[in-house]
Amino acid sequence: MTQVTRLQELLYEVKIGEVMTRKVIHVTPQTPMAEIRKLLREHRISGIPVVQEGKLEGIISIEDLINTLAESAMAATVGERMTRNPVTLREDEPVVVAINHFATHGYGRYLVVDGKGHMVGIVTRGDIIEGLLKKLEVEYHEEEIRRYRVSHIFEDVVSDRTSIILRYDIVARDFKHAGEASSNIKQVLTRLGAPLEVVRRAAIATYEAEMNIIIHTTEGGEIEAEIQAGRLILRAMDRGPGIPDIAKAMEPGFSTAAEWIRELGFGAGMGLSNIKRCANEMKLESPDQKRTCLEATFYLDGKKQESPPRAESGERPPDPSN
């Protein structure tokens, strides 16, 4: 199994109907054979579909014409000399079906019909290549435009302090949705083009903060991510019960979590020290010992790193010798 490329996906996504040529010269079964010679020569083609009231009846080819000439039967109509039941493709089939046909049969073109057997177009190898290239070009442009828009938002919007604020309500004990806020924040940061290494540190810290609210609070709280030009300020605020001894809470390994929380894989007393490790700056307050406010700042340009442990590992490709 190898990685599926976008082009391979397109072979299944793009339908034959999207890439085929719609205008097709055709004749009826009543057309005299004498006219076929003229049509083939004028249009420099090797076959013409035969259509009766929209429905594909057959195909008349150079070979049929030669045989008719050899038998001196040029007075006949197309209906008497045509090849019936030609191989056709359906417009709603993916282009990969057409490619398989081109590979197995030697034909250079296939007639395309709809679900009722009505002829709707013709498809060649060239049509498929052109159609796929156009699709890729459109997607490439869309991605370019989207990247431009997000990465330039701070330059394009004029204000003294521009920021994007994302707020998420976190419900206490809601393990089912745990991590959704962090996941969303991570995606936005990636979209905005922040360095992967910073995005990773911010995501880990946000996730720890989100889990803390879910595990330790009685009333739940809020996660707020404020993205400014060059920095992200993460705020995690809850409505109690607060932290009596902040210094103690910061110690790695210190935990007040119940056993059932540990069974979920959390509450090991690493959360706050982990947030501190990931952030460029961190402030933790518990005013009145009733609520808790955590503020962590991340420098998005990745330059002003004071103590970013393992920071360099974020963008390092895996060592193949491992």
């Binding site: 996730y207 979920l264 490790r277 442990p309 393992r310 490709p317 491992n322």
Partner: protein, 121 residues
């Protein structure tokens, strides 16, 4: 080491299939997600006996490339669904944690560097 190699070394069964030709940098083995968040490196594989969706969330946040469940533990349906959504491959091995770690270490897969983390605390 390629994920495909790891799967064959541990005789793993693929639960969520995604790009098995990807390169794995190192391994982290733990049931404590807080620990994993603290020391797992990007592009690593997580070996765990924990089966809830938070395992996949942890992998997502820490840029972990794949998750391997030990002891034949099949994760919850929600875990599998989330992994599919995030494109994170999930593998299950019958052998217990110690055996899985032993086999992979012997085959040359390195540990995510804990000492490095401790030195910086």
């Amino acid at each position: 080491m390629k994920l495909q190699q790891i799967i064959s070394i541990v005789e793993g069964q693929v639960l969520v299939d995604a790009r098995v030709d990807r390169e794995i940098s190192c391994a982290a083995a733990s049931d404590l997600m807080s620990d994993v968040l603290a020391f797992a490196e990007p592009y690593s594989i997580l070996l765990t006996g924990l089966c809830n969706p938070q395992v996949v969330r942890t992998a997502e946040m820490a840029d972990i490339a794949a998750v391997l469940f030990v002891h034949g533990k099949i994760p919850e349906a929600e875990t599998i669904a989330l992994a599919q959504k995030m494109g994170i491959p999930l593998v299950v091995a019958k052998a217990p944690m110690f055996e899985v770690c032993g086999r992979l270490h012997q085959a040359g897969l390195k540990s995510c560097d804990v000492s490095c983390r401790l030195a910086r605390l």
